[in-house]
């Protein structure tokens, strides 16, 4: 059977889940962090495209949970458990958090990439989800695709080639 592989696309400040044989993808991560939480036995994975470290930064009324590290990981975890993932089997992989532009001046805003990475790690630690692999920091954009069957995270870049972690 030649069935087209289903690709679930996750936008900016968005999250979603996928079951094998589908894969899940998010494109153009810069300072944002793509975090995958998965249960390999269930062939189930969730991906969040996190933009900001903490929901306390929110100044508006409506809160988009997928946007912030603290709310996105909690939300993703709840959805995965509801879909049948076992908490003890969950693992995580992450990529992104680059610093796309270098400035001599510039305060916290310029460091948003590293801050996002720290915040995601802190949340994963809070829920005791081990980080199996990561490709973070640097100065380059990344497009990532996760396969919940193999557990591999494919990372494509413009200037540094392609790799699997």
């Amino acid at each position: 059977m030649n069935k087209l592989k289903e690709v679930v696309k996750v936008g900016i400040a968005d999250l979603n889940i996928v079951r094998a044989p589908g894969v899940i993808r998010t494109s153009g991560l810069g300072s944002c962090v793509g975090v995958v939480i998965y249960d390999l036995n269930q062939h189930l994975a969730g991906l969040a495209h996190v933009m900001l470290p903490d929901s306390s930064l929110a100044k508006g009324n409506a809160l988009n949970k997928a946007k912030y590290a603290d709310t996105a990981i909690k939300e993703l975890l709840d959805i995965l458990i509801e879909e049948g993932a076992k908490k003890y089997a969950l693992k995580a992989k992450m990529a992104g958090g680059a610093q796309m532009f270098q400035f001599s001046s510039g305060g916290d805003m310029m460091r948003i990439g590293p801050r996002n990475v720290e915040a995601v790690k802190k949340q994963l630690e809070r829920f005791r989800i081990p980080i199996v692999a990561e490709d973070v920091g640097g100065r380059n954009g990344r497009t990532i695709e996760f396969n919940p069957e193999s557990g591999m995270l494919n990372i494509r870049t413009v200037n540094l080639g392609v790799k699997d972690i």
Partner: protein, 212 residues
């Protein structure tokens, strides 16, 4: 409801004029720099989601060459000058007279990047000075920074301030085109993304009430 969703047609028209004045001045500067005729289309002002905004530049993992400038002063914000890499190669070759410089494949020549930055510097400077004259607000560009990478990775940098307030952005987009180009229609974008608090200042400076 956040400010972004409260904008009326009058506000959008004013922002369009802001884009027109800024980019018009920048297009003139670019024409002089390259000794070519550069035209600009009427700017569009859109209230877009993050994904829609990135789509304007060709999509999240579409490769673009961009110069990023942080606007400092009374109405801070972000500005991007976004071009297809092959267009930058062509512009920089015209500027430097060195036809070996290209931006299609890494590694990029240091000389080339520095010429591209200088181009970004001149363009953003002329965009901002026109804007500053029009609004009488004090605006200064930061030192420009360049990147050749995925559009999503580059443009989300300009959303950090805004994303704390709203899930929508107001993007003032102006398309530049070279006249009589034998290279087909190649387009560049100017994206102006004022910080959330700056809109009020821009409207006030032009004598328009925010809640109009």
């Amino acid at each position: 409801m956040s400010f972004v969703e409260r904008l009326s047609q009058v506000h959008l028209d004013i922002l369009k004029e802001v884009g027109n004045i800024g980019a018009g001045n920048a297009a003139t500067a670019l024409s002089q720099l390259l000794n070519r005729t550069i035209n600009l289309e009427i700017p569009t002002v859109q209230v877009a989601t993050y994904d829609e905004m990135v789509e304007l530049a060709g999509g999240s993992d579409h490769v673009v060459a961009a110069v990023y400038i942080r606007i400092e002063g009374e109405a801070p914000g972000n500005m991007f000058f976004v071009l297809p890499p092959e267009q930058v190669s062509y512009f920089v070759q015209l500027m430097t007279g060195d036809s070996t410089i290209t931006f299609e494949e890494p590694p990029y020549s240091e000389m080339g990047i520095s010429a591209f930055l200088e181009m970004g510097n001149i363009l953003s400077g002329s965009y901002l000075s026109a804007l500053s004259d029009f609004t009488r607000l004090n605006l200064q560009p930061s030192v420009p920074s360049a990147s050749i990478d995925m559009a999503g990775a580059i443009l989300t940098m300009g959303l950090i301030e805004l994303s704390q307030v709203s899930d929508h952005v107001i993007v003032i987009d102006t398309i530049l085109e070279e006249e009589n180009s034998d290279r087909g229609k190649i387009r560049g974008h100017f994206f102006l993304l004022p910080d959330p608090d700056s809109f009020e200042k821009i409207f006030q400076a032009l004598g328009v009430n925010v809640d109009e």
